[in-house]
């Protein structure tokens, strides 16, 4: 993976050449395309319905109101429940936190075993794992339903957490495997000579040296699991639907008058967690998705 961070060479001397005008012109236009939805989302969510009906979606609100946000959070209805998106939010928290932690623990130990403690067949399993990540989830949905039902955790938080751990495994294992194999082998050998075992080396050497990659994995998993829709729909019940599913039910419900401001506030609320993760993590986010894309 090449360095994304810094352009090379000296800066061009003149600024207002035709080239530069075209260059920044295109980049500026594209930036409008990328920024527009975020802008519209925020603006719409701060208007009342009267203003939305008469005005234009690109205009900033004449009178700023936070009522749509309050309503989206605490009063919006899905079916007969009118306790707002807060329920979905807390469901998503309860799904995301354990899923992220468990999947990272499982995959990091696994990646470590694959690099430093190869056993017969380990590479075969790893190859299947990576290929498995390309298989459409749809083909595995029903067998997983059966497995979860047999285990008695179909429709529960535990079931969904297990599913997220399973489907997070390919990409995370790849991530950790690639990182651990970039660490100097001498470290591992020295620890072995000193009598450290499997877990000793993992906890005392690998773990402290790998904090950056754990952060990358964290970013990848928080956004991935928070944004999941399909698994939420298939493997949970309405009471524990994650935020994305509840959001879709609120906005695309056919009953009642559409409250666009509340809908956009709800959409914004759902997007807030990954957005915060994105803006806080900065370049690590790029590293995470790039690691996901480029095979080892």
């Amino acid at each position: 993976m090449a360095d994304l961070s810094n352009p090379r060479g000296t800066r061009p001397k003149s600024r207002f050449t035709l080239n530069n005008i075209v260059l920044y012109g295109i980049l500026g236009l594209m930036s409008i395309y990328y920024l527009l939805p975020l802008y519209v989302m925020v603006m719409t969510s701060l208007k009342d319905m009267a203003e939305i009906r008469m005005g234009n979606i690109f205009a900033p609100p004449v009178e700023v109101t936070f009522h749509p946000w309050v309503k989206a959070w605490a009063e919006a209805c899905t079916g007969l429940n009118c306790d707002g998106l807060s329920r979905g939010f807390w469901n998503s928290v309860m799904i995301t936190v354990p899923s992220v932690i468990i999947s990272i623990i499982v995959a990091s130990v696994n990646g470590y075993a694959l690099v430093n403690w190869k056993f017969k067949g380990s590479e075969v399993f790893f190859t299947i794992l990576i290929f498995g990540s390309f298989i459409p989830y749809q083909i595995m949905l029903y067998p997983i339903v059966i497995i979860l039902r047999e285990l008695g955790i179909y429709g529960t938080l535990g079931g969904l957490i297990m599913v997220h751990t399973i489907f997070g495994m390919p990409i995370l294992t790849l991530l950790f495997r690639n990182y651990f194999s970039s660490l100097p082998e001498e470290l591992f050998k020295a620890a072995r000579v000193d009598g450290a075992g499997f877990w000793g080396i993992y906890f005392q050497i690998m773990l402290p040296m790998s904090m950056p990659i754990f952060v990358v994995a964290l970013i990848l998993q928080i956004t991935g699991i928070w944004n999941d829709f399909l698994f939420g729909v298939v493997f949970t019940k309405p009471e524990i639907y994650p935020m994305t599913v509840q959001l879709n039910n609120i906005v695309n419900s056919v009953q009642g008058v559409k409250e666009y401001n509340v809908n956009m506030a709800a959409t914004m609320l759902t997007g807030l967690v990954p957005l915060i993760v994105y803006f806080v993590s900065g370049k690590l986010f790029v590293r995470g998705i790039a690691a996901g894309a480029v095979k080892g």
């Binding site: 994304l4 979606i57 075993a113 056993f119 498995g132 029903y142």
Partner: protein, 297 residues
């Protein structure tokens, strides 16, 4: 690493094997087992519950004679080709622009990439709102004086896929740009120097030297995008839910419908097997090129 031979085979490296149990279970039970299970049951007449009563290829014959499925496949093909063409070309163009030693590179990248952090549900809902004919973009232009202006892709069967495309490209092109930019930055500086010494214009160098050199990056991106498109589900559910009149139905939605709401499991299994097949058609040539070729040098 596993060089030290010890007599007890199975117990050697025991901790590592314990650590790998989740991976082994996942690959064998879920990935391999689950896939085989679904493929096997796609040859049965399972309705409400899976049962092993063989009907040969009946489910597939019914699948391919169902209008809904054929529409879904056509939609996916059209959307897929459009999406791949635009994702790759926009992603590459943006990456080239970003590679011109520009100012505010970080700012531009942050702007282009943030949609990728958002879910397809959020993406679909926002664009549904912006493309709303009564209050969205169309209405704004009309109120500015151009009263016959018409831009309502989501409510016309002929254009709904373009509406999805606008949203899909918004979400994904920043990511493609990043992959391409990494590819561009990976090109040796000497290539550029040589091209300059030979007096080749920059655009020519890009087109005839850099693009061929970036072939692996293009292929990887294409495979990732293609695998993602075949699974396309959330975006459509949020933005159009298959409407108008199934003009934006997708295979993944067909599978969901037959597996979980229409209680016709056999159809769902057959449809998902077809999805697997289409992924394999993309994946196998790629894997062959990537890994198979290397071993033979």
């Amino acid at each position: 690493m596993s060089g030290q031979a010890k007599p007890v085979r199975l117990l050697r490296n025991l901790n590592a094997k314990i650590a790998a149990v989740p991976m082994i279970l996942t690959t064998l039970v879920v990935f391999v087992g689950g896939t085989i299970w679904t493929v096997v049951y796609s040859f049965t007449d399972s309705k409400l519950l899976p049962r092993l009563r063989w009907v040969g290829l009946d489910q597939y014959e019914r699948l391919w004679s169902t209008d809904l499925w054929n529409m879904a496949i056509n939609n996916l093909l059209f959307f897929g080709v459009m999406s791949m063409t635009f994702t790759i070309s926009i992603g590459f163009l943006l990456a080239v622009l970003m590679d011109q030693k520009i100012r505010f590179e970080d700012t531009f990248r942050t702007i282009m990439l943030y949609p990728f952090a958002l879910s397809f549900i959020v993406t679909g809902l926002v664009w549904q709102w912006i493309l709303d004919p009564g209050m969205g973009l169309q209405e704004v232009v009309r109120r500015m004086g151009w009263e016959t202006f018409s831009f309502d892709p989501l409510h016309d069967a002929d254009t709904v896929l373009y509406g999805l495309l606008i949203a899909g490209l918004w979400q994904g092109t920043g990511f493609t740009m990043c992959l391409m930019l990494a590819g561009l930055r990976g090109i040796d500086d000497d290539i550029w120097k040589a091209a300059r010494v030979d007096g080749i214009p920059r655009w020519k160098t890009y087109l005839f030297v850099v693009v061929p050199m970036m072939r692996p990056v293009f292929i990887t991106t294409l495979v990732l995008v293609a695998a993602g498109i075949i699974k396309l589900y959330d975006l459509v559910v949020a933005q159009t839910n298959g409407n108008p009149g199934n003009a934006s139905q997708m295979p993944a939605m067909y599978v969901y419908r037959y597996m979980f709401t229409a209680q016709n499991l056999g159809q769902g299994f057959a449809a998902s097997t077809m999805m697997l097949l289409s992924v394999l058609i993309v994946l196998i040539p790629w894997a062959y090129l990537e890994f198979g070729g290397k071993k033979r040098g």
